[in-house]
């Protein structure tokens, strides 16, 4: 595979990889490093690329693994990603994001960041990226029932908190 084909087939997923890595790491610089590492890994193994059915899901899986490796190396959890999240929104931004982020959306960001890791991953992949359950299973290397269980728990947790927010007002 030459560089042009690689650019055409793999580069378009860069934003999805970046967002996923960012969701896991909570830092734009680290997320960028991870995506770069993913691309180099895929490029080094480009001869086997023909055997891979879903390059996007495969790339997402590598992104997940490298991000989790980083978290493990640093022995941390990105529980406090809100400030970092706002920081990233100030520098990586599509026109839409340049608009001010409302207080309510900040709260949702907080809610999502407080979810357990798997639930956060599933919710991100389904509700933000719009992947099917089977694709999520492929990316996360879990079966479909596990995907549904995690998504159900994540949505339920968010729903409960939203109801509380609704009761007290945003």
């Amino acid at each position: 595979m030459n560089l042009e084909t690689f650019q055409a087939r793999v580069f378009p997923v860069k934003n999805k990889l970046f967002r996923f890595a960012f969701r896991l790491l909570g830092s734009s610089e680290e997320a960028k490093d991870v995506v770069q590492e993913v691309f180099i890994k895929i490029w080094n193994g480009r001869e086997q690329l023909g055997e891979i059915q879903n390059i996007e899901a495969w790339s997402m899986r590598i992104t997940k693994n490298l991000s989790l490796d980083r978290l493990r190396q640093q022995n941390r959890r990105p529980t406090d990603s809100l400030e970092k999240g706002l920081h990233i929104q100030n520098e990586t931004l599509s026109p839409y994001e340049n608009t001010e982020i409302s207080e309510s959306m900040k709260r949702i960001d907080e809610l999502m960041a407080s979810l357990p890791e798997k639930q956060r991953q599933v919710m991100h992949l389904r509700d933000i990226e719009g992947y099917s359950y089977s694709e999520i299973g492929e990316i996360m290397e879990i079966d479909m029932s596990q995907v549904k269980v995690n998504l159900f728990r994540a949505r339920n947790a968010v729903r409960e908190k939203l109801q509380k927010i609704n009761n007290y007002g945003l």
Partner: protein, 171 residues
């Protein structure tokens, strides 16, 4: 989609029973219309999902990565360390092979040329064969002589043993 339909879909959404298309409809509903007061927080959630989906890595990312990939285009880079190791092993093998060759040459030069082929001269071949057979025969003769000595020893040992056994029997 009206509010009541949206609420119905939302209920399905919380139960994880919505399809991707239905979730997209919900997202569109909450983005385009003023959601009822009771669903304000839910609307914020869908707006948040939409905003997150528009996040992108910054523009200089692609050129930077392309540069890196281009550098790796020639295939795997063999590190100098492993190259040095391979070179060391190769040099060692070469020294051994060269040494073996020269030693062989030396041996060939210094080895006395006593043994020569005799197949061109039948008489000489016969003499050589005879000489060789005689040598074997002499060796056999010597060996037989030595073996006879051993036989005497064995005989003596046997006699002593018999005697000892007899004495033990008497006691």
């Amino acid at each position: 989609m009206d509010s009541s339909k949206a609420e119905q879909l939302l209920e399905k959404y919380w139960m994880c029973e919505t399809s991707l298309e239905e979730e997209q409809q919900l997202r569109e509903f909450f983005l385009s219309k003023d959601a009822p007061e009771s669903l304000k927080a839910t609307a914020a959630m869908f707006r948040f999902f939409d905003a997150e989906k528009n996040k992108s890595v910054n523009e200089n990312f692609e050129p930077t990565v392309t540069k890196q990939l281009r550098r790796r285009q020639g295939g795997k880079i063999v590190s100098m360390v492993s190259f040095a190791n391979i070179a060391r092993i190769a040099a060692g093998i070469m020294v051994v092979v060269a040494a073996a060759y020269f030693i062989k040459q030396e041996i060939r030069k210094s080895y006395p040329q006593e043994l020569q082929d005799t197949y061109t001269d039948p008489e000489m071949a016969f003499e050589e064969t005879k000489k060789a057979l005689m040598m074997i025969s002499n060796s056999f003769g010597k060996a037989k002589h030595e073996a006879e000595k051993m036989k005497v020893f064995n005989e003596a040992e046997r006699k002593i043993q018999n005697k000892e056994n007899q004495q033990k029997g008497i006691i």
